[in-house]
Amino acid sequence: MSSFFHSVRLDEEKCTGCTTCIKRCPTGAIRVRNGKAHILSGRCTDCGECIRVCQHHAKYSERDDLSRLSEFKYNVAVPAPTLYGQFSNIEDTDYILTALKRCGFDDVFEVAGGAERVSELTREFMASDKAVRPVISSACPAVCRLIRVAFPQLIPHVIPLNSPMEETGRLARERARKVTGLADEDIGVFFITPCPAKITAIKQPICLEKSYISGAIAIKDIYPALLKNIKALKNESPESLKSAGLIGISWATSGGESAALLRDSYLAADGIENVIKVLEEIDNEKLNNIDFVELNACTGGCVGGSLTAENPFVAKARLQQLRRGMPVSGSHIGEGENVDDMYWQRPLTGYDIMRLSDDISEAMSMMNRMEEIRAKLPGLDCGTCGAPSCAALAEDIVRGFAKETDCIFRLRDQLDAPLFKDIFPAPFRKPEK
């Protein structure tokens, strides 16, 4: 486990060490040390859950801003379909796309368009003998990273296709090269992102040598400028920029990717806890009768991303409105087109963060020690030690990165002062008569 890039970061200044995030992290990747909630690099999937739960805004996502456009001669914005759900009273996505272009871009290319092509290729893949049922979507990078650290045995189920974001980035680059004659390094392609997971996927792709995307701008960062530009458009007609239909736009919400497959046997789960439950079910061979499993780390799908501006349920309702009257699909794979570039360049590789040791007998003695330690801990799961639970502290101790006296109760027990032993914190006090 060498160097992992993570977009999710801690602002130490703001962190109070309150321990809220350590308990909510789905992979148990956060520990409070010296009063600050640090992220264990190998375990983090950049799902953004800690950003959502921190009341002190101490967890944030590393991201780009519009100043980066100056690095390139020609810039293309590639907006996630989630963007369209952020604004009220819009009947035509061209208003949003035009407003986006006027933020300083030379062109816009909808990720919804790339998504429609990915849907077409997925349909083809599902009908081939390469499909390991149930086939798991690879579009959400937080889910891919979760699978690699916690369910590596399920990797063969994951569909080996690039995400709509990458497919769109590739197409956007191709078009920009054609239109401008510029070299790749002079073309900036910026993803308008709902989440930190996508940013991580851009900076450190797992299944591509290099991302087609140059940078990522958070939806909530560009939102104010977009609002202003949309207002300014009120008395004009927008440019004609859209290319996607309702299939592409549906990818923003949970179930959209599945519906586009035009088959009934699918399951769509959203929210990281639900995703974990479904992966367990697949692992236990309980879902063998299902063809396709769509998993989104965020509640409601990408509309629930932690870098969006609008409530996910409101965004979903708006997308439903927008879809009315749209063609089913606006982007297609051409007859006889070579689609090799739509597949991964290298496989998803697993590395197991769960196992205690590579040697089973060593792992067993570690586990027995863990159990002995845990039996002496109070079972309060209070988090004061910096670990999410007493069991997690026991594991940390055995793994060698915590000590028993990190638990305030164990510290008390070891103090050689009889007085302390009679002081009981509230949870242990006997009811007074």
Binding site: N284, E285, R355, L356, M364
Partner: protein
């Protein structure tokens, strides 16, 4: 050196069925048993655990884990199985309608336990209970 695990299975609460097999699975993963072994144990023990809840009003599961193999014993004080040969047949089930409505009762549990384990012994006395002993050999 080995690990012993023990679980009481509540016969009243459907929603908790699967907790014991889930925990055994998690433990095996932590210990680094091969994925195939982990999966086989998880599937077989889950079926046994569900049977305990549906047919026997709960019971007890113990697991002995060692490098050379895994032994799981599922013991209950339920009604017992009158004809084990019959019960082992694919499709044989006495599950009542309310249980079938939940998706159980295909009569595949016991056959699957046999399929996924490397050894299965059933002891059952009508009116006293059922004990199923399962063996799993670690494979790479």
């Amino acid at each position: 050196m080995g690990i012993k695990l023990k679980y009481e299975v509540d016969g009243e609460d459907f929603t908790r069925a699967g907790e014991a097999s889930g925990d055994i699975k998690k433990t095996l993963k932590k210990l680094g048993f091969p994925p195939e072994t982990v999966r086989n144990v998880a599937i077989a023990v889950y079926e046994g655990e569900i049977n305990m809840v549906i047919h026997a009003n709960g019971g007890e599961i113990t697991a002995d884990l060692s490098e050379d193999g895994i032994t799981v014993v599922l013991a209950d004080k339920g009604p017992g199985i009158p004809d084990i040969g019959m019960a082992m047949k694919e499709g044989y089930s006495t599950a009542p309608d309310n249980v079938r409505a939940l998706g159980f009762g295909a009569g595949m549990g016991l056959p699957n336990i046999k399929k996924y384990s490397d050894g299965m012994e059933i002891d059952s006395v009508v009116g006293e209970g059922t004990t199923i002993k399962l063996k799993f050999l670690p494979k790479q």
